[in-house]
Symmetry: C2
Subunit: 326 residues, 2 copies
């Protein structure tokens, strides 16, 4: 704790530049070198994924860590060691990740957690649940339920193409899956979290639609095994490991707190950095700004145009992309 406080103090002293913005809805920095992830680790109170943990992972799974781990693309965690303990002891756990579909197709940035999750599923050989938050997109955007469902469905195809184990993977969208077991966990979370806490975690205002304050429990509920009775029965002592971009951490800080109060297994997390926009490291690839990203549905010609280096300009876009992905 003393070390954390010292680092906070240091950041405060050096903190003349504006804070990076990292929320589930916005990722931006004024720095040309991109988000300061070390600062984010301190701010969010998670842990750096150190070499020792990666070495332990390799020992336990008998696999060489994938490039995304070795090169620091997944850079931080909460209680990742507890999942390694369970793997070592042969105790069950599962993987949980997800996506709020806001475009017809995934872009390269979206793919990062899924490619890594597939790799983790292979290494750990455990069940995986993938949540498509079409209800979230309906609440946040000006779209109809059917459009949100359709977008989730289109995105599911891209996600499935990553090659998860079909026997051990359950992919669902909230609108179509909602059922008594899922709802029961949502209501249990609603009982132990109050509106003040939601507001301080997510920054919602009282003018926001009710759904925004109700929704975080819907993203938190799949952390608990009994939301999936067809996989885990009514057990709530099987924890999950969540690979995700670090902007999703607020949901799971809330879920971990709720887990403690409900005496459910606490989720662990492993966090990725953001794939920078083609235009530069100040923002991530964002579906709401199509020119910042390369979509899986882009044609070779479209991709060429997006990364084309015009004569006399710097080849920075292509170089950055090559460095990030190879």
């Amino acid at each position: 704790m003393a070390a954390v406080e010292a680092r906070m103090e240091e950041l405060k002293v050096n903190g003349t530049k504006e804070e990076d913005t990292v929320t589930p809805w916005e990722v931006n920095t004024t720095s040309a070198t991109g988000i300061d992830y070390d600062k984010l680790i301190v701010k969010f109170g998670c842990k750096k994924l150190d070499d020792e943990t990666i070495a332990r992972f390799e020992r336990i799974t008998g696999r060489k860590a994938c490039p995304m781990l070795r090169r620091g693309m997944f850079f931080a965690h909460r209680d990742f060691n507890l999942m390694l303990d369970r793997k070592e002891q042969g105790k069950p756990f599962f993987l949980y990740t997800g996506r709020g579909a806001s475009s017809g197709s995934l872009h390269l940035g979206h793919l990062v957690p899924f490619i890594f999750t597939k790799w983790l599923q292979d290494a750990f050989d455990v069940p995986l649940v993938i949540q498509m938050t079409d209800d979230e997109k309906f609440l946040w955007r000006d779209m109809k339920v059917d459009e949100a469902k359709k977008m989730a469905r289109e995105n599911m195809k891209d996600i499935i193409s990553v090659g998860f184990d079909p026997e051990k993977t359950f992919i669902f969208n909230d609108f179509d899956y909602m059922c008594p077991s899922f709802y029961e966990n949502i209501v249990k979370i609603w009982k132990v979290v109050n509106a003040n806490q939601i507001r301080s975690i997510f920054g919602f205002t009282p003018e926001d639609p009710m759904g925004k304050t109700a929704f975080p429990a819907v993203e938190a509920a799949p952390c608990f095994a009994s939301s999936f009775p067809h996989i885990f029965g009514n057990r709530n002592d099987i924890p999950c490991l969540i690979p995700c971009a670090i902007d999703q951490d607020p949901y799971f800080r809330m879920a971990r707190d709720a887990a403690s109060r409900l005496k459910f297994a606490k989720p662990s997390l492993i966090f990725s950095t953001f794939l920078p926009a083609l235009q530069g490291a100040q923002s991530k690839m964002s579906a709401s700004e199509p020119n910042t990203c390369i979509y899986l549905s882009d044609t070779p010609k479209q991709i060429k145009n997006k990364i084309l280096v015009k004569p006399g300009t710097s080849p920075v876009r292509f170089e950055r992309l090559r460095l990030e992905l190879t």
Copy 2:
């Protein structure tokens, strides 16, 4: 409007005594003669159920109004006339009522809306849905989900015994019924109502569990036909008529407002007074205070003890009960 304002002004002038308290969670007055229902009509902005409307009801259904209507036990409404229009024109509508089970058995006060609803179902010959809000009770009280479900189940038996048409009645508890169609309507309501509105309607504070602010949409969703696809398909143009005690009005004021925004059929309401506690008209029969009520599960001896007039005391309890119920 001018008449309403004049009446408000009059109430203000005469309003030296404290306000009656009528919320979904509390019904109390300082007046020995009980709640001032005329004042409540003005405060809530609903309409008095006048003789003309009752006469029209009798003409259209060909039935003599039941004692609960004739004697003013159901005393106010919102758009009841629109349902009479639909009956006259042969257009479909349905009845919706419900109960939040907080005791193992119903008391006489709880029975009032159900007895009346059965009578309305016979007169109108329409489908009826009955919601048991076990999720609400779990959120508001110190109980487990299973206890809340069990209480709902016990109460269902009492409700079924009232004798609804089994072919046209669907009774459900929220925890067990929650499904995509029901959830979709909840999310739609969440999108058009904000936290400020919920707080001003229900008086919740930011310290209340999140579930309290999320729940009103769960009580409002059965107003919309598509919450029951096995009965109405995905139609949202079939309105419902809700017979209930007037303390439930805040939920349905919110539902009517949401209906307008969502372009769904607006629910109509018909409101009952409260059955006074055995101790006097200052409060209603309340399950949280067992001695104020007679339960369906009470033995003849228990009932006798509750209403027994000891020598030398006034026979007021028994007399009041006789007047209310016969």
